[in-house]
């Protein structure tokens, strides 16, 4: 316990607990994971909030994300600069949203961001195609991909603009039986 105290002050830990779905222990664990990623870059002492960011390549290499076909998008959509460089704050934020305790609405917002490859706030056909190709490792023929994307848009598109806005996406995802159970990462 003694050496753990020096990583964060109590106020910091409390603040993190207020801002995330984590307990004290988990936040400390997150820090140790973050530290492990780049021991020479990340300081052990976070009491004075050092400004340090880890690049996407390091974070994506975590075992939790390594197999995920959307890993780059996940990291990018949580980074402030959109390039995938995560500070510890953003790192915690990412796993907080992906934790089991996070509510459906919050998860839906970030899921939308993740699937929105070109960051235009709409899931257009190209986004869906990319998603599908990542999901199936490009084993579907282009016609099949086309069909599936069309179908998906047709199903979920409420306003008929042949792309999915956040409202469409939310409407669709809140009814999905598997969304909560699959859209989470335990750390």
């Amino acid at each position: 316990m003694g050496n753990k105290q020096t990583i964060f002050t109590d106020e910091q830990l409390d603040a993190y607990q207020d801002c995330t779905f984590f307990t004290r222990k988990e936040i400390l664990r997150l820090h140790s994971r973050y530290h492990e990623l780049a021991p020479h870059l990340v300081p052990m002492d976070y009491t004075n909030e050092p400004d340090c960011k880890l690049p996407l390549a390091l974070i994506v290499d975590m075992p939790e994300l390594k197999e995920n076909p959307f890993r780059n998008r996940i990291v990018e959509s949580f980074s402030e600069d959109g390039m995938g460089n995560l500070s510890f704050n953003e790192f915690v934020d990412m796993f907080s949203v992906l934790s089991e305790m996070a509510p459906r609405e919050l998860k839906a917002i970030y899921a939308f961001k993740i699937y929105d490859y070109n960051v235009d706030n709409y899931l257009c056909k190209e986004d869906l195609e990319k998603t599908l190709n990542k999901l199936t490792k490009e084993e579907l023929t282009p016609e099949e991909v086309e069909l599936v994307c069309e179908k998906a848009i047709e199903e979920a598109d409420l306003d008929g603009d042949s792309k999915l806005s956040y409202a469409d996406f939310e409407n669709m995802i809140t009814r999905a039986p598997d969304f909560l159970s699959t859209f989470h990462i335990r750390i």
């Binding site: 995920n68 704050n89 998603t131 598997d178 335990r186």
Partner: protein, 968 residues
């Protein structure tokens, strides 16, 4: 308009989908508007209007974190404005000072903000900000002009504000970075909020206090809901800090007079309570065991395998509570305060068994010393109260038995309800493809092999869905499939009947053995029942699996069938076992009658033999071990269950070791010297069978519930078993299982398993309740001995431990005349609730239908609108190109041109309707060639058609601009 802009942009941040480009666009738009207005003249008025619009939105911004709806915001801004006015009228003297401090605070705050958002946003934003700053200055002036009449004050204030503004601008120039307009606004507003707060509490009227309180409450709410906000962490932290500061600062100011102390106390207590809650929460999560183990499995095998382990852990928790109940309220009191071992016959090993009572084989069978211990029903004494504080042992025993079952019901039902809530409304199939696309990847997977399997299964599922979409798959030979399915079901039924008969047969045989005396038989004969049951439980599922290949179902359907069949098998086995046990109980009870008679004879002979000489002499002390006793069927039942559990556990572990571990080892090491590839070929590695394991767990729990009344040690035993299997299975699954090839969804089956558990719970309480209610307890063992029925203990307690009036009331209450109406009432209530829920469901379905219809309608409408817009656009383009052409080609009069345009439009419309596929370029020459004809005609018809100066002016720029656009 500016207000709207701000609000929309704010909303965007609310859902954290910021449109950077959009904002720019809107700004441009705004600026253009400004320009236009300025050109129109009446500048002063215009600006004031502008500010008036701007102000509420800006005030709004200040509390953007707290309020979600626009209306709410507006209202609050109005309130705040009023308050601000009030303020100014009260503290005019302080005005200057305050404004200066305000400026300072703004500055510091701004600096923070700027540092935060030190990104290159371009000069545009800076401009926008400056403009907004100017606007603000003017706004305040305007406010003053409008509302405060006294000139001196006004001047003072203006000066002060001027100073502030200048400072602001200077700072901006120095820093030369521009924060987003949004954040700057936010900063301004926070400052305003703080300003409101800076008013000293003594000077506030109750109304204002109320408002302040509201603000504090809002901040508190914000703090609580912060973790659910989709903001970046930094923003969250800053907001948290700010609102905490705010709350801390002004919380104490609230309340007045007597109320203040109380309020402060209350605040302090809530703070402490929150802290305690958080610590408790931390403690609770620290207490949840095996988190890392499960996580590891999760990342290797995905959520479905992990769901088994989570279920196991949940079961462990329940058993922990059950164990706590039985251990704390039954076993420990009896062991500590009850009569010690050897004091009375029921607590002593009988003389005949004494010799082998300590043998391992006997103990393993829970005979000998184990049988005569707190582990079993028979050991407990019927003494009403034991120990120095008069612990009511029999009552406690009974209540714990009831409480165990009641608690289990409660937990299972509650969990089911929660699961039902969580799992959404995923029954309709309207989002088949979207769901597949967005929710089929399991984010937990962290193992390459599992990931590969998942990829493959997702691909196949997509392909299946595509096939289904393209054509409903034709059934090649429906008759054959049907025949095979019937055959398969027939075979399964045969299996079930066979296994049921086998168990019945074995149990009957074992009773014969038992009558003969167990010593004369081999180990197999003694343990036949349990072994047969375990073996059946092991091999029948495999048989079902083979049979189900006949049926050719979709794998998911096949899985359900398989589960149903295994469930039926287990249930059948359990119930056969119970029926056989009931036979045994009846036999024991006959035996008991004989023994009872014998004992009275024996006692009589004892007294006759000794009492003839001296009737006053104390009765002969006989060692309790020598006293003849009844067979005690309750202990027998308890023992049976314990043995069943033990053998079941053993078979599970052994199958695990042989079926998984040994197989894995063989496959791994024999693969080098074998003729075919063992790893990829026939034996390969085993997969983790989630459904089978869950079913095993459920049935195991059922046995615990059934037997716990007669063997209080069962929950403890189960706890041990679960603990061991947690480690053993975790190890086995990580070391010798391969990920499933077809990965099924875990969530849908979750409640399915819970429902099974509930059914099992119900079915297992039935026999227990039956025995408790109908069969009289043994006369010489157990806590209820000597009573007619076990539940008489309640009545006894009521009569002797409660005041007379209570038992009277109770007897009245239990009068059929009262009970029957009550039951009737309950039935009515259930009926009512059921029918209302039904109607709700119907209404739900209706609404869903309506919603769907509306959606479709919307889609249609939108499509039509889009189509129309497209057509209009095309038309406009064409007409524009036409007119441009004419402009170029002929220099006819304006009037003629007008006519021409109109007619061309008409023609185009017609033309467009006929064949819209032609491109504009093709059409152009045609039109120009055809144009003059109708134009002349028209010209002749209408002398001076509607020529309006405004009309022409408006249409001219468009006509000029559009073609140039098209050409480029």
């Amino acid at each position: 308009m500016p207000g709207d802009t701000l609000i929309t942009s704010e909303n965007d941040t609310d859902i954290e989908l910021d449109f950077a480009g959009d904002e720019d666009f809107q700004e441009n738009h705004e600026r253009e508007k400004h320009k236009g207005k300025r050109r129109n003249g009446d500048r002063q008025k215009n600006e004031r209007e502008n500010q008036r619009r701007k102000r509420p939105s800006k005030l709004v911004q200040g509390i953007r974190e707290e309020s979600q709806s626009k209306t709410e915001r507006r209202e609050r801004s109005r309130r705040r404005r009023r308050r601000a006015e009030h303020e100014t009228s009260i503290h005019e003297g302080n005005e200057r000072e305050r404004d200066q401090t305000r400026a300072k605070s703004t500055k510091s705050k701004k600096n923070i903000k700027n540092e935060k958002t030190r990104k290159l946003e371009g000069k545009e934003d800076g401009e926008a900000q400056e403009r907004s700053g100017k606007g603000k200055l003017k706004l305040v002036c305007a406010k003053n002009e409008e509302k405060i009449e006294s000139g001196d004050q006004l001047k003072e204030k203006e000066k002060a504000l001027g100073v502030k503004k200048k400072k602001k601008k200077r700072r901006k120039k120095v820093v030369e970075t521009s924060s987003e307009p949004e954040t700057s606004e936010e900063g301004d507003d926070e400052e305003e909020v703080n300003n409101d707060g800076e008013v000293r509490p003594e000077l506030l009227s109750p109304e204002e206090l109320e408002k302040l309180k509201d603000a504090v409450d809002e901040k508190k709410k914000l703090i609580q809901s912060l973790r659910g906000k989709p903001w970046p962490m930094k923003q969250k932290l800053v907001t948290l800090r700010e609102s905490q500061l705010f709350v801390e600062k002004y919380e104490g100011a609230l309340g007045k007079g007597k109320g203040r102390k109380l309020y402060a106390y209350k605040v302090m207590m809530t703070k402490k309570w929150m802290k305690f809650q958080r610590d408790f929460e931390n403690f609770k999560t620290a207490c949840i065991p095996w988190e890392m183990k499960i996580k590891e499995i999760e990342s290797h095998f995905g959520s479905s395998v992990a769901s088994y382990f989570i279920f196991l852990r949940w079961m462990y928790g329940i058993n922990m509570i059950l164990f706590g109940l039985t251990f704390g309220l039954v076993m420990v009191p009896e062991a500590l305060m009850g009569r010690p071992y050897g004091s009375i016959p029921r607590k002593t090993v009988p003389r005949a068994e004494e010799a082998g009572a300590m043998d391992f084989a006997v103990l393993w069978d829970f005979g000998g010393y184990a049988q005569y211990s707190v582990l079993f029903y028979g050991y407990y004494n019927n003494q009403r109260a034991i120990g120095w504080f008069k612990f009511r042992m029999p009552l406690s025993y009974f209540l714990v038995g009831v409480g165990t079952v009641a608690y289990s019901y409660m937990v299972v039902i509650r969990t089911m309800a929660r699961n039902a809530n969580e799992s959404g409304i995923g029954d309709d199939n309207s989002f088949n493809f979207s769901w597949k696309m967005f929710t089929s990847w399991d984010y937990l997977i962290g193992n390459p092999e599992t990931a590969d399997n998942k990829f493959a299964s997702i691909t196949t599922s997509f392909k299946e869905a595509i096939l289904e979409e393209q054509e409903s798959r034709k059934d090649d030979n429906i008759h054959l499939t049907r025949f095979l399915r019937v055959l398969a079901n027939f075979l399964v039924l045969c299996c079930l009947a066979g296994s049921g008969y086998l168990i019945y047969f074995v149990v009957r045989r074992s009773q014969k053995f038992a009558l003969d005396g167990l010593e004369n038989h081999t180990w197999w004969e003694r343990n036949e029942v349990n072994m047969v049951m375990s073996l059946l439980g092991m091999f029948c599922p495999m048989l079902f699996d083979v049979i189900s290949t006949l049926e050719n179902y979709h794998p998911r359907v096949a899985l359900q069938w398989q589960l149903g069949r295994i469930f039926a098998l287990f249930l059948g086995n359990l119930y056969t076992f119970i029926i056989a046990l009931m036979d045994a109980i009846n036999l024991k009870r006959k035996e008991e009658k004989v023994v009872k008679y014998n004992i009275t004879m024996w006692e009589a002979s004892l007294y006759n033999g000794t009492g003839s000489e001296n009737s006053t002499a104390p009765p002969i002390t006989i060692h309790p071990a020598d006293v003849p006793r009844g067979p005690c069927w309750e202990t027998m039942v308890g023992q049976e269950f314990v043995r069943l559990i033990i053998s079941d556990t053993m078979t599970t572990y052994i199958t695990l070791l042989i079926g998984d571990f040994l197989r894995a080892v063989l496959v791994r090491f024999l693969n080098h010297c074998w003729c075919w590839d063992l790893e990829a070929g026939f034996p390969s590695y085993s997969e983790f069978d989630v459904s089978g394991n869950v079913l095993g767990l459920i049935f195991n729990q059922g046995m615990i519930w059934m037997g716990a009344f007669y063997a209080p040690c069962l929950p403890a035993l189960n706890l041990l078993r679960l603990h061991v299997s947690m480690y053993l299975q975790c190890w086995a699954v990580m070391c010798c299982n391969v990920p499933q090839e077809r990965v099924f969804k875990a969530s849908g089956s979750n409640n399915f398993y819970m429902a099974m558990l509930l059914v099992i719970l119900f079915l297992s309480t039935l026999p227990a309740i039956y025995t408790i209610v109908t069969i009289p307890p043994s006369f010489d063992c157990g806590p209820f001995s000597g009573k007619n029925r076990m539940f008489d203990v309640i009545q006894e307690t009521l009569e002797s431990d409660f005041p007379a009036w209570f038992s009277k009331v109770f007897s009245y209450a239990s009068n059929p005349g009262l009970v029957l109406p009550f039951i009737l009432l309950m039935v009515l209530a259930i009926y009512y609730l059921q029918s209302t829920s039904k109607s709700y469901k119907e209404a739900n379905v209706e609404l869903k239908k309506k919603l769907q219809m509306q959606n479709e309608e919307n889609k249609k409408k939108n499509k039509q609108a889009a189509l129309k817009a497209q057509m209009d656009l095309e038309e406009a383009r064409k007409s524009a190109s036409q007119t441009a052409e004419h402009q170029r080609n002929n220099n006819a009069s304006v009037q003629r041109r007008e006519d021409d345009e109109e007619i061309d439009n008409k023609n185009q419309r017609m033309y467009h309707g006929r064949n819209p596929s032609l491109s504009a370029g093709d059409r152009e020459p045609q039109f120009s060639a055809r144009g003059p004809g109708p134009r002349n005609g028209h010209n002749g018809n209408h002398g001076n058609p509607r020529y309006l100066p405004g009309f022409r002016q408006q249409s001219e720029p468009r006509m000029c601009r559009v073609p140039s656009l098209e050409r480029h």
